[in-house]
């Protein structure tokens, strides 16, 4: 769905030519639908084959924004939520977070503050966050109103969407918006600190995750 219809958003995981690379992370309690959300957006398949020694890589998707090719690495720590002490390692180098709760699950909403603390603690200071209330298709089981979600987002100073991975509501919009916010923030940073611009290197410099330098994330 993401690649269909909108020429600006194209899926091309193999393409190594990109202007920027953004590492995005989807976080939130277990079972809020993070993986489904990611699958919905990156609609190619982890599904067909799984090789245990290879695993399933984070999703890679290249999108076009303001005439720039932006390669998105989208990470999902689903299943590892309980390994709190280790998942924070994923945070490093992440430029954007999709912080997700489930509108039918009060606990997941109450945990949002904890997740925000984690982001503040472990991620890059300029990392951008979007709050997402998922499963908005399940109206009859909803316990968190749109208004409550929006208020919390205001408090936290982040943008807010309600989505449904199942019904494909706002999934693409969330990613597009997050990319826009990161781009905006980035141009601010670039304006403020021109040393960050290094010709074709800028994408790598910013993401802390240059291709072919696997240990870069320990080097920040």
């Amino acid at each position: 769905m993401a690649s269909g219809g909108d020429p600006k958003w194209q899926k091309d995981a193999a393409d190594q030519n990109f202007d920027y690379m953004f590492k995005l992370l989807i976080i939130g309690n277990s079972s809020v639908g993070k993986t489904s959300f990611l699958f919905r957006y990156a609609d190619d398949s982890f599904t067909s084959a799984f090789v245990s020694t290879v695993g399933i890589d984070f999703k890679v998707k290249t999108v076009f924004r303001h005439d720039k090719r932006v390669k998105l690495q989208i990470w999902d720590t689903a299943g590892q939520e309980r390994y709190r002490t280790i998942t924070t390692a994923y945070y490093r180098g992440a430029m954007g977070f999709i912080l997700m709760y489930d509108v039918t699950n009060e606990d997941s909403f109450n945990s949002v503050q904890d997740w925000v603390t984690q982001i503040k603690t472990y991620s890059w200071d300029n990392a951008q966050v979007i709050l997402v209330g998922n499963k908005c298709d399940m109206e009859d089981q909803r316990v968190i109103s749109f208004e409550r979600g929006r208020q919390l987002a205001d408090q936290l100073g982040v943008e807010f969407f309600e989505t449904s991975a199942k019904e494909n509501v706002n999934v693409k919009a969330v990613f597009e918006r997050l990319v826009d916010i990161i781009c905006d923030k980035m141009s601010e940073s670039l304006d403020a600190d021109p040393t960050l611009v290094g010709g074709g290197q800028k994408g790598q410099r910013l993401t802390d995750q240059p291709q072919g330098t696997p240990n870069a994330n320990c080097n920040c």
Binding site: F50, A78, Q80, T85, N217
Partner: protein, 675 residues
């Protein structure tokens, strides 16, 4: 069962081994079963044992109670006793035992009364509802209540056809009435008729199966009691009698049997499987109906290089409950055991072998009283039909299981927190006040060994099904051992961070970090990825990482991080793990993540009723990575001093506090420059 396609000469003896109950014994038995059902877990074992005692005693007395013999039974049983390699006495016993109807009529009333009492007791398993409404009956019967866990769609369709064409077996009450064998029959008979006809007639084949399975298998004695009195008016028998000219019945039955296929009663079910095409990747069997998968698993057990059975055993809980598998297997076994052909005997043997395997792999949560009483019933049937060897084999298996899980259960109640660790924690309380060693006083190697021992203790307790189900439900209650293991990991990591941050002196902190690095090197050599990563995540955590460290430390930690570098989906770690020989303690978080992805990314069914076995195959391969290390045993000896020093890793600061300390040591403001 009712749908059984038997030779006409055996029509009436359809369920020879399901009707073994003797009047007196059956009374005892039903009360025993009640005990099994009602008693709390710990007492269950004794009940089972006691029951078995009675069982074996009963085999002797059975002879005295039986008077009638049927020629066909004799011949069949003798041939069985030979094929099945039964103990000598069984040759005499089995013929008699197999004949339920042989019961003396005088017991009729008594038995009937018993059955009335017994049925409600055994409610979950037995058909207790009146005939007119088959669905509720089935609901009670089916232990899962999951419609998809039963029979295949194909069968449903076939069955539909059958039902529409064949008025006889119609399950619905109107039809039943019209059907009337029932006309001449009293309530009791209707009841039997109903319950046993269902399999043949029910529109919902899936439900059929359950009732078919359930009855014979789970309620042998109760039904036996009831049926016997009514003499030949058994389930199927009811039909026979009423319609009287038996030929008519036979025809109908043959017809029915042709039209509806119970895969559990088929020798070869390959056509109900979806096999891999030559050019495709993945497992040989891509999918199939549940019953077909079960049967296939039994058939390929001994085939070398065929992991299907292992994959099935590992993953079947994702689409069917253990109790249902057992029911289906006992049904299949019972069905084929009574048939003389070699291939059918082989099918019976294979089925029994798979049953033993399933029972062997039952987990503590599987062992419900319901499941145990099902096994008790089946073992009783085996005993009664003279298959003492098999009965003993199976009995030993599940008694072993019950014993195994009873111990931790009793002990576990006391120490809620952390399994084995808690026990050591208890003793620590007394000693910890004294000369508590510091981290630096202890040898790195020994610390690593003791960490590994604790990990191993928790790791081996994790049941494979709970890992599989966690990825599906994320339900902590259903995965208690997995949870403890994960918590242990987090606690260890927080503990290590706290150890470092609590030190005021920078040099001391550095010494401790160096100590942890040494410990990690030992952990790595021991293939203990779990503790290794817990400590690494401590050294690499924000509050510690941002502080100033010697270059050596920074580089060391960076090198360690390479192992768990997440690029290419943790290629480095996966590679290392693949090359690791047991003993080893893997990092389970990645297994959980993989399972979550596979679960979310793949359909459970290929089409209605057809299980997507490729998905299970993927799950199996992920789990297998963990399974192969499950039996790991480290040769280290427990060192109480160090264990006490760990103190269950319960002494740690909160993240907020650690962060505050970190900022006190090195105020925020600029980005940290250390590694």
């Amino acid at each position: 069962m009712a749908a059984a396609n038997w030779s006409s000469s055996r029509r009436r003896r359809r369920r020879p081994i399901w009707q073994p109950a003797l009047p007196p014994k059956s009374i005892q038995r039903s009360s025993l079963t009640r005990l099994v059902n009602d008693f709390i877990f710990p007492t269950l074992l004794y009940t089972v044992l006691a029951y078995m005692e009675i069982c074996s005693a009963s085999t002797r007395s059975i002879e005295q109670h039986r008077h009638t013999m049927h020629a066909c039974n004799i011949s069949r049983n003798i041939s069985h006793s030979q094929t099945m390699n039964i103990m000598p006495m069984s040759k005499e016993l089995s013929p008699e035992l197999e004949m339920p109807p042989a019961l003396p009529p005088k017991n009729y009333k008594q038995r009937k009364a018993t059955s009335m009492v017994a049925s409600p007791t055994l409610q979950p398993i037995i058909v207790t509802t009146p005939p007119p409404s088959p669905k509720p009956t089935l609901g009670e019967n089916g232990s899962t209540g999951r419609p998809d866990s039963r029979m295949a769609t194909v069968c449903e369709e076939l069955n539909d056809a059958v039902a529409s064409e064949d008025a006889m077996p119609e399950p619905r009450s109107p039809v039943l009435d019209s059907n009337e064998n029932v006309s001449a029959v009293d309530d009791g008979q209707t009841f039997y008729f109903h319950s046993h006809q269902l399999p043949v007639a029910d529109l919902e084949m899936s439900e059929d199966t359950s009732s078919v399975d359930n009855q014979p298998l789970t309620t042998p004695q109760v039904l036996g009691e009831q049926e016997e009195p009514t003499a030949e008016s058994r389930p199927l028998v009811a039909v026979h009698e009423s319609v009287k000219p038996e030929n008519a019945d036979e025809d109908e039955e043959a017809e029915r049997a042709d039209m509806l296929i119970n895969m559990l009663e088929e020798v070869n079910i390959t056509r109900y499987l979806i096999l891999k095409k030559r050019e495709e990747d993945g497992p040989e069997v891509k999918g199939g109906y549940i019953d077909a998968l079960i049967v296939h698993a039994s058939r390929v057990q001994k085939v070398a290089d065929n992991a299907f059975c292992e994959a099935f055993i590992t993953t079947f809980r994702t689409f069917i409950q253990p109790i249902d598998v057992i029911e289906k297997l006992t049904h299949r076994y019972t069905y084929f055991f009574c048939q003389v052909q070699d291939n059918k005997q082989k099918a019976a043997k294979e089925t029994f072998a798979l049953l033993v395997r399933v029972v062997n792999d039952l987990t503590s949560t599987d062992l419900t009283s319901q499941l145990l009483s099902l096994l008790v019933e089946f073992v009783y049937q085996l005993v009664c039909s003279g298959q003492l060897y098999l009965a003993k084999l199976l009995r030993n298996k599940f008694v072993e299981k019950v014993t195994l899980y009873k111990e931790p259960k009793l002990g576990g109640a006391g120490c809620v927190g952390g399994a084995g660790i808690a026990s050591s924690g208890g003793s620590s309380g007394a000693a910890s006040g004294g000369n508590q060693p510091s981290l630096l006083d202890l040898k790195s190697l020994e610390i690593a060994e003791q960490m590994t021992l604790l990990d191993a203790e928790l790791f081996t307790k994790i049941e494979i099904p709970e890992v599989l189900l966690f990825a599906k439900d994320q339900c902590e209650e259903k995965s208690p051992n997995l949870n403890k293991f994960t918590e242990h990991f987090n606690k260890m990591s927080y503990w290590a961070r706290s150890k470092i941050l609590r030190l005021q002196d920078a040099k001391e902190r550095e010494k401790h970090v160096n100590k942890f690095i040494k410990i990690m090197k030992h952990l790595r050599k021991m293939n203990n990825y779990n503790s290794y990563l817990a400590l690494l995540s401590a050294l690499d955590s924000g509050p510690i990482r941002r502080l100033e460290w010697q270059k050596g430390i920074t580089e060391e930690v960076r090198a360690f991080c390479a192992l768990i570098d997440s690029s290419s989906s943790f290629r480095a770690y996966r590679q290392a793990l693949a090359e690791t020989n047991p003993p080893c303690i893997p990092y389970i978080g990645l297994i959980l993540q993989d399972l979550t992805f596979v679960h979310v990314g793949n359909q459970d069914y290929l089409s209605k009723g057809v299980i997507n076995f490729s998905k299970r195959w993927q799950q199996y391969n992920i789990i297998d990575n963990m399974k192969r290390f499950k039996k790991c045993a480290y040769p280290f000896r427990r060192n109480e001093r160090i264990i006490r020093f760990f103190d269950n890793f319960k002494d740690f600061m909160g993240e907020e506090e650690m962060w505050q300390i970190s900022e006190k040591i090195k105020p925020r403001g600029r980005r940290p420059v250390n590694y």
